[in-house]
């Protein structure tokens, strides 16, 4: 537990930040593949709330970033003015596992609250344009600042992932088939966040505060990120608001196009929305395998194997509309 490495970490933080006092660590709610610890540090400038991300079990997809690279992406984004928690340090050995330290930020991240809570109504109003503002900044990041990010063929990637599941999913195959047969001309690749959606943004009553969870960052077609928050699973039950359950696609897309000069219209996003459903259906299956393969035992991961059927149904629904 913490006591084995907690004291060592606190000493390192004290040295690193010139802290007068480092409080005790406590475990926060966090993602499935990594632990998230909170710790408060007092420096000459005042109280500094910190978050320590530490490796847990395996990785979600085969191509997630290491914590070291994720922090480097955060640093590049922070430098370029993207709203991200301030990055502090990468630590290669915290109780035998790697970790990084960032500012611990306040606000709402739970999707179903962001799409429903009455006190976040004004935030939902503001979010479509704010999401576009942030995404335009991400897509303007210089690839040279993050040269370790990889570009991969999206269809090949999901085919390989699906094969690794070793269970027949003809509905996902149908989605992949349609995507192969209708593939659009690629746009120039950009630095992509890779998991840009409601659930990975911190929201206050004013709207978007921070963009989190950069572990899927890669280099790719900008439309992959643009369309990802449209995927039904990320509308958290408020299906009629197609942009992440918070708003309409048009003001978001208009703003993005205005800022980036890329010519993308709503119809162009359909292919990427189908891709998004293939991606999350496959992702849900591979996550459940981490439990089944005993990489990381978790009832949360386990049930995803059954919930992949939701994305399969959405895929069939989308394809029906264009057949």
């Amino acid at each position: 537990m913490v006591s084995e490495w907690g004291d060592e970490l606190r000493e390192r933080l004290a040295a690193l930040l010139g802290a007068d006092e480092v409080g005790s660590l406590w475990l926060l709610a966090g993602g499935a593949s990594k632990e998230a610890w909170a710790v408060d540090v007092r420096t000459a400038d005042g109280e500094l709330p910190l978050l320590v991300r530490r490796a847990a079990g395996g990785v979600i997809h085969t191509d997630t970033l290491s914590l070291e690279d994720e922090l480097r992406v955060l640093e590049a984004a922070h430098e370029a003015g993207v709203r991200v928690p301030r990055p502090y340090a990468y630590l290669d050995d915290v109780g035998g596992r790697e970790a990084f330290v960032v500012e611990r930020v306040e606000g709402e991240t739970i999707g179903r609250r962001i799409v429903r809570n009455p006190e976040l109504a004004a935030a939902r109003e503001a979010l479509p344009r704010q999401l576009a503002d942030e995404l335009a900044k991400v897509h303007a990041l210089a690839p040279e600042a993050v040269p370790f990010l990889r570009a991969r063929d999206v269809l090949e990637r999901f085919e390989v992932e699906l094969d690794s599941v070793d269970e027949p999913h003809p509905a996902i195959e149908l989605g992949l088939r349609w995507l192969r047969d209708h593939r659009p001309e690629p746009l120039d690749p950009v630095v992509s966040h890779g998991d840009f959606r409601i659930g990975n943004v911190v929201v206050s009553e004013q709207g978007l505060e921070y963009l989190l969870d950069w572990e899927f960052a890669h280099v790719g077609d900008p439309r992959e990120d643009v369309a990802w928050p449209l995927v039904r699973a990320w509308r958290f039950g408020v299906d009629e608001r197609r942009l992440g359950g918070v708003g309409e696609v048009e003001p978001y897309l208009e703003r993005y196009v205005e800022l980036t000069g890329r010519s993308i219209d709503a119809d162009d996003l359909f292919w990427w929305e189908v891709l998004g459903n293939v991606k999350w259906a496959t992702g849900a299956l591979t996550q459940s395998r981490r439990h089944l393969n005993r990489e990381e035992r978790s009832v949360e991961l386990a049930v995803l194997g059954r919930l992949a059927a939701e994305m399969e149904y959405e895929l069939l629904h989308l394809l029906e509309a264009v057949s």
Partner: protein
């Protein structure tokens, strides 16, 4: 096994115990969330044990269809058949999800 409780009844008893006796005692948000996921998982298991719906596709048929589609040979009735298959899976895994399409 003919002795009761049946597998379904045992799952149900466990789910009710978690829901009615354990969940109300949990203050930690993370634990509450995981308990709800566990309750949902037992619901899935129970619906599957109680289901009398025949399989739309056997594992072999699903594997054969997946292979054909991957190879570019999509049977004409595949979309309709798969809609039935996935709807049947959802009646066990997430029955309320289907309401979102009505």
């Amino acid at each position: 096994m003919r002795d009761r409780p049946s597998a379904s009844e045992l799952v149900e008893a466990t789910r009710e115990f978690l829901e009615q006796e354990v969940l109300p005692t949990l203050a930690d948000q993370r634990l509450r969330f995981r308990a709800l996921v566990a309750i949902n998982a037992l619901g899935i298991a129970q619906r599957e044990l109680d289901s009398e719906e025949p399989e739309v596709l056997s594992t072999e048929e699903a594997a054969e269809l997946a292979r054909r589609i991957r190879g570019g040979d999509v049977p004409e009735d595949a979309p309709a058949l798969l809609e039935q298959e996935v709807a049947a899976k959802l009646r066990i895994a997430s029955p309320r999800y289907l309401d979102r399409y009505r």
